[in-house]
Subunit: 89 residues, 2 copies
Amino acid sequence: MDDNTVLIGTKPLMSYVLAVVTQFNNGKSEVVIKARGKAIVRAVDTAEVSTRQFLSGVVKKNISISTDSVETDEGPANVSSIEIVLQKS
Amino acid sequence: MDDNTVLIGTKPLMSYVLAVVTQFNNGKSEVVIKARGKAIVRAVDTAEVSTRQFLSGVVKKNISISTDSVETDEGPANVSSIEIVLQKS
């Protein structure tokens, strides 16, 4: 995974907001937020809180959704995913 | 609300998929899926299942996220929202 990607899991929201803000502060011009399934809500929250409260001049460049196939105990299953690209303008 | 909008709530996923498919079958060329908070995941699922399994030739035209201010028992609170525009191509 590229090191400008923040993969959203089950940690508290602010952990991911901090991760995004840190990437930009370290000089990255673009940060990609990715999530699957229930974590999608937290990905949207992360993008909103980061851009509204911590990062002036960073915009939502692109948002895409897709379906990933994952292996579960009961065989393959489809799960929705989201990818939000933030860019320093 | 425009009648080509499907607002996602707490019903089962397939209720919303059916609503989207019905709109297109009734001749709409564009359908907007909207959700707030935890329902965001179901909005993404609705878009994915509708376009992959039921609607050939319908594409995701635009996806946007924003923050809405809502009134709660404890005063105003911010909640993330998503809007997914599907379009018959």
